[in-house]
């Protein structure tokens, strides 16, 4: 049992719901989801999407909320402590290392992407991003800003503006996190999430009232834009190279395994399950606080932002102005190249562009904040240090990581490699461990009984069966198939050397370092147990 500090608590139920919602709502809601839906003929994509929500997303979210509260009742707030306690084995604390490296690792590059959103929002205020209708100019603007042409270019001749903005976002995150849970994360989320929704609704209203923005292309109107997103594609369509894509029926489309894989990943990453964040957040709940309704509301808010806002804005807007010649599957291409071109040609485009990138910045800020809390909780309870020192340690480690991505900016290869391993592989592994721990180690009946304690929502019994059997099998099958398709290429990238190899070595170094810290924490926790036994 950690001995050191007065336990922090959330200030209110709506505060923790908004904080978890803020953690989950990110760029993926407004860019990745619409891109994927359009890529897979919109309507068809929603079938595996909603199935993954019911069989994986919601059950794992409830599990994480419940396990977090269980750990908090025992005085632990970090995944090493919580897994050690729930598995009743010291080995559990080493499994918990994944719950530290995932949010820390993602934060290192996410704060950088967050600063891109801020830069774009500022660029709409001063008009420097209104570059006409030539797509190449927007691609150049983006590539020059993030320095994709070669490694180290952002630091040649002194740091570029992007480096300073990244540092600014970095300091902002740590200033907020230093204030603590209720006074920092909760207050920011309480303001940021409603503002984000209002900005998104204003942008949505603008997009839906555009009618036919360019009379030269009467077929590019709001209805065909919505059709690009939502039509199930049975009529077929003309591809960029002019070829006619054959008509598909519903069942042919559903037989595409890649679509299932992408829909599952989207649900998974979008709800922030398997990140180690929800467990940490829920550990600050009181014993009688509700977890099921709070978990459901956070998930519902996230999919609302994704489907009702992201789904109605992004693709229709891009299609109305740019037609089908957009790579909808590229998150960065869609968000930072295609959409700026759209806003530049839209009436009131600078205002709408500012609101859009402003909301993306808020979405990224509330997500990046949540990525810092798990490590801070661990430093506090595992190493026995105060908030000031734990914040300073984390700031040092993550700053080294973030600068790594600034230095290795060429082709964004380092970022892509880190995202693959930390932001995908480790998340799948942690989510699988969480589900198996809940369903098989804690036991599905005691686990669900605990989840229902103090709950304002009753989960149907069928979810006991889903959580015990379906969710783990679903996860393992998807992960196996995904690994089969992607792992080989990434290992080859590592072996080829350069930025991916350095990134891989950085990840290994971080893993070793965190494992060593968990070893120290175990010694402290063992000593505390011995002391308790003697007294």
């Amino acid at each position: 049992m950690p001995d050191n500090h007065k336990t922090e608590r959330w200030g209110s139920r709506i505060g923790v719901i908004l904080a978890v919602m803020g953690s989950a709502i990110g760029l993926g809601n407004f860019l990745r989801f619409p891109g994927l839906a359009a890529k897979y003929d919109g309507g068809h994509f929603m079938v595996p999407y909603f199935i993954a929500l019911v069989l994986l997303g919601l059950p794992i979210a409830w599990t994480e909320w419940s396990m977090g509260r269980m750990g908090g009742e025992k005085g632990f707030h970090s995944t090493p402590g919580i897994f050690r306690e729930l598995l009743h084995k010291k080995f559990g604390s080493y499994i918990g290392v994944i719950g530290l490296i995932v949010p820390m690792g993602i934060y290192m590059y996410y704060v950088y992407i967050e600063s891109w959103c801020l830069y774009y929002a500022i660029s709409y205020l001063n008009g420097s991003i209104m570059l006409g209708s030539d797509s190449a100019r927007y691609a150049d603007f983006f590539n020059n800003y993030i320095g994709t042409s070669k490694d180290g270019i952002l630091l040649d001749n002194g740091p570029q503006i992007g480096v300073y903005l990244m540092l600014g976002c970095f300091i902002l995150n740590f200033a907020i996190i230093y204030r603590g849970l209720a006074r920092g994360i909760e207050i920011v989320s309480k303001y940021a999430i409603p503002v984000l929704f209002i900005c998104a609704l204003v942008v949505l209203l603008r997009v839906l009232t555009l009618d036919t923005p360019n009379p030269e292309f009467p077929q590019r109107n709001v209805l065909t834009g919505l059709g690009k997103m939502w039509n199930p594609g049975v009529a077929g369509y003309t591809a960029v190279d002019g070829t006619i894509v054959p008509a598909k029926n519903f069942w042919q489309s559903l037989a595409n395994p890649q679509m299932w894989l992408d829909a599952t990943s989207q649900i998974f990453f979008s709800l922030s399950v398997g990140f180690g964040i929800i467990i940490t957040y829920a550990s600050y709940l009181r014993k009688k606080d509700d977890v099921l309704l709070s978990g459901t509301t956070s998930a519902a808010g996230n999919i609302f932002a994704e489907v009702a806002l992201g789904g109605l804005i992004t693709i229709p807007a891009a299609f109305m102005f740019l037609g089908s010649g957009v790579n909808f599957g590229s998150t960065f291409g869609l968000g930072f190249v295609a959409l700026p071109n759209v806003f530049a040609n839209m009436p009131l485009g600078n205002v709408i562009g500012f609101l859009w990138f402003g909301l993306l910045f808020l979405a990224a800020l509330t997500s990046s904040l949540s990525m810092l809390q798990p490590a801070i909780a661990f430093f506090e309870e595992g190493l026995g240090v105060g908030r000031k020192l734990s914040t300073a340690i984390l700031a040092f480690i993550t700053l080294c990581g973030s600068m790594f991505f600034v230095i290795f900016s060429g082709g964004a290869k380092a970022l892509d490699f880190m995202d693959f391993w930390i932001g995908s592989v480790f998340i799948y592994i942690l989510a699988t461990i969480i589900v198996i721990t809940f369903g098989w180690k804690i036991g599905i009946d005691p686990g669900m009984d605990h989840a229902h304690s103090g709950s304002h929502l009753k989960i149907p019994k069928i979810f006991n069966f889903i959580l015990k059997y379906i969710s783990p099998i679903y996860l393992i099958v998807v992960f196996a198939f995904w690994s089969y398709k992607s792992l080989g290429a990434k290992i080859d990238e590592f072996m080829d050397g350069g930025a991916p190899m350095y990134t891989g070595m950085f990840i290994i170094l971080l893993l070793v370092f965190l494992t060593w810290l968990v070893h120290i924490a175990n010694q402290r926790w063992d000593a505390a147990i011995e002391n308790e036994g003697e007294s």
Binding site: S12, R13, I14, I17, G42, G43, M46, F50, L223, T224, L226, G227, M229, W230, N231, P232, V234, A235, R286, K287, K288, D289, D290, L293, S294, T296, T297, A300, G301, I303, F304, E306, V307, A308, G311, L312, G454, H456, L457
Partner: protein, 36 residues
């Protein structure tokens, strides 16, 4: 936009909006538990 597209859009957007609205309604109408 095709009829099937309308149907899918209305069902999807309607579902997520109702789901979010319903859960928010419960959050605001159920009093948080007090610790003993």
């Amino acid at each position: 936009m095709e009829t099937s597209g309308w149907v899918i859009m209305i069902i999807s957007v309607g579902f997520v909006t109702s789901f979010f609205g319903w859960s928010l309604y419960l959050v605001f109408t159920r009093k948080p538990n007090e610790d003993e």
